[in-house]
Symmetry: C2
Subunit: 471 residues, 2 copies
């Protein structure tokens, strides 16, 4: 595998050897954890072989890939806009791929510059101003809407579905169906039911793949293919990382080591904040995607010896160089409550050199001849060194270049790392029971049938609520 470009994990600055015993992890601590880690890898393998972890097999779904590519090809040039309507796991993966691989101002390019690939918008909120703003700029006749909801009942997505399809029907009559493509469960849910009745084009989200693990299903792949992303390379990258992480030896499996490092620094060293800091604007969407994956998978309560335990570290996105001028002061001098993971790219696609005239000011002369790449790199190395000197734990994932192949690797690496972390933390990394209460409250307040009892309870509670403290 050494001939293929892969991700390099450097965790020297997480270790006591480098940053001292108070904040660093010892080799002994890792060695003690190794047999447990070994068992977890084998547990995961065994669950996978029983079909319990289908997200791990997504890189190998050749039929679906072909279907997506064929559909995208057949639609090429027919639409100026693709609007993805989804929220959470149905939006973050899409945004991560577009931000990483398309032109940074893709939606502002002309049709010709975009090579007739559509503009891509991800509508991930019911904010009326944003929703209405988007409808201002996309004409129904030029637009394909991809509605994505695993359950087929997500309130935000279905509310938008009702409004948008009404507008499409009013404008386009029966032809409106050609402007809708749905991505949902194969059998269940309202959106599947409507899809069948109306005869919409549709993709299936494979059973057992939760939203935050679904980027490599049609959820993420269709809009990627529509905008010209090489989804075969994306899946090959994921498959490659699957092989890289096949070892059950902690010292050879980067996903396992990542999980172990985050877990130990949290539970042994009290670092309850996990900063994901790409030195790249293009990777900022991956950081947002990771923040959902980590938070929703591991932020859990469970009962241990009759006591309720609340666990999970809080992920925070930062972007280099930008956040050196925003968050770095806190990371440097503030409490020792966080670890930083840098994502670094060795070579950017573009080279921009600072070649100025001879009249360059003497105190800027040091910049002359440097490429922006060097400036970016010096800032990254300078910051990493400064944090390390202050004994703040940090590790670095480096990719040679950003491509569909390396992005696929990153997705798979982080998903597997999160699954392993679920084992370390002893939680189910695949459910999200904590979001139900808020949903039920919202249903009750919107007057949904079957929630009348809760509606009355809320009324009583809001009447009783303290209203004493306000200014």
């Amino acid at each position: 595998m050494k001939d293929k470009k892969t991700i390099h994990l450097d965790f020297n600055n997480m270790m006591a050897d480098t940053i001292g015993l108070e904040h660093g992890i010892t080799e002994q601590e890792l060695k003690t954890l190794a047999p447990v880690a070994n068992r977890y890898v084998n547990d995961v393998k065994e669950e996978r072989s029983r079909g319990k972890l289908p997200f791990l097999d997504l890189p190998y779904q050749k039929n679906i890939t072909t279907e997506i590519i064929n559909t995208a090809n057949s639609l090429k040039g027919k639409f100026k806009n693709l609007v993805v309507v989804g929220i959470g796991g149905s939006a973050l993966g899409n945004t991560a791929i577009h931000t990483a691989l398309n032109h940074p101002f893709h939606n502002i390019l002309t049709d010709r510059e975009r090579k007739s690939f559509p503009r891509v918008f991800v509508l991930d909120n019911v904010d009326p101003d944003r929703f209405s703003g988007l409808l201002d700029i996309v004409k129904p006749e030029e637009t394909l809407f991809n509605f994505i909801t695993k359950s087929g009942t997500t309130v935000e997505t279905m509310a938008q579905f009702l409004i948008i399809t009404k507008r499409l029907r009013d404008r386009l009559g029966k032809d409106y169906k050609d402007h809708v493509i749905t991505t949902t469960d194969s059998e269940n849910g309202t959106l599947r039911e409507i899809t069948r009745r109306e005869g919409f084009r549709s993709f299936v989200i494979p059973g057992g793949v939760g939203g935050r693990y679904s980027v490599l299903t049609p959820v993420g792949l269709f809009s990627a293919a529509m905008s010209g992303v090489d989804i075969v390379a994306l899946l090959e990258g994921a498959a490659f990382m699957d092989k890289v992480c096949k070892s059950d030896n902690l010292w050879e499996n980067p996903a396992l080591m990542g999980a172990a490092l985050y877990f130990l620094s949290h539970t042994k060293k009290g670092k309850n904040i996990v900063v994901m800091m790409p030195y790249s604007n293009a990777l900022s969407g991956v950081a947002d995607w990771f923040c959902q994956l980590w938070a929703e998978s591991l932020g859990k309560k469970f009962t241990l010896n009759n006591e309720v335990v609340h666990t999970g570290s809080t992920p925070v996105k930062a972007v280099g160089v930008v956040d050196q001028h925003s968050q770095l002061q806190l990371y440097m001098e503030g409490p020792y409550d966080k670890i930083v993971t840098f994502l670094a790219i060795k070579r950017f696609s573009k080279e921009v050199s600072i070649v100025s005239g001879n009249d360059i000011e003497s105190d800027l002369v040091y910049l002359k001849g440097h490429a922006l790449n060097n400036v970016m790199n010096a800032e990254f190395e300078g910051t990493r060194l400064a944090l390390t000197e202050q004994k703040h734990p940090n590790c670095t994932l480096t990719i040679d270049e950003l491509s569909a192949f390396t992005l696929g690797q990153l997705f798979y690496l982080f998903e597997l790392q999160t699954a392993y972390a679920g084992k370390f933390y002893n939680v189910n990394a695949f459910d999200q029971p904590g979001v139900e209460a808020g949903k039920i409250n919202a249903f009750a307040m919107l007057g949904r049938k079957g929630f009348e009892q809760r509606e009355r309870e809320i009324d009583i509670q809001l009447q009783r609520a303290q209203k004493k403290y306000h200014i």
Copy 2:
């Protein structure tokens, strides 16, 4: 002041009365803090009267406002693009204003739809791919570049200045000067020096106003005025909040109460994470701006009884409804290590109703007739209630509507709250010594004169560095 629209702070759900003693603050704790808080208000007043806190007087700088408006008017219609080049405090305020007050897809609207106001881009990174991507889409002859750096020497901004002005000169010859406007210190720094020599249009950042407190100087106001924002109303909002917060009584001053609540929940209840969660896409930029303000002002170390104390809570941005599907699981079931501040808007500018045909699916029928505003509001109230029932501390700032006037209030409120918090934490809320080390390292690596010694030290250190731990 009751006739004017102001911000309402509801902190019932921060209090022990509502969420219990383990996580909630008692009225007695606030009462104990009140005399101290009172003294801090008077300290701030006294420092302000001695000219030590000039950011507090920015709402009253009529001359500068007039100058900005006149300049913006004189440039109206001349440029298709305004590119703001700045980083940290020279970028976040700009982005916050545009995101809040301009059309959500401002840069995609046609010239006519934008009423000839320019497209606005904020170039806040030296990422070569993003930089080069921006230059792809803005033609020099149609573009005005506003370079912003307080010190006049910021490496990222000056690197971009050198590249951009070279390109402008190559393309436009002597006329290139009309495409540059600088915003920097009145006297010091390389950018001021070059501005004088070249005769660029220029604005002054008032002395003693640090980057993160500079949104109401030409730093934030010029690009706002250029894109049609009513900067007079913005400043009137800030002045209004100045009056709202004039009381030295903790119970009557929302900025002071905010500072006290965050401080007590951190130091007495161990909440080291501060989530800022607007239920509005338009306010997401304000949340980012707040994250810099809070982190860089309060993330500090100081010496107390010969011991070094590291302080500062970590701000995190979340956006409602979106992050209910990403972070809420962690907030609900995860550790009790955070407080959430909701920003809520009573009325959005747009109403979008869900009016669908009679064929609406029976399990979506509850949505019929609702406006998206109602859905948004039910989600917010549902989430707030669910968090409160789980005893997670939260407070809410509500504005009637989002406008220049209420945005100005928010800026001033958070700045003043941060200044008060500096007093509570006993730190200087106006410096950022912790970022120097990283800067010096970067200078050394880029070969800047005067940093040769550090360059050698870094070389030795990198050679000696552990390279043992990597995969």
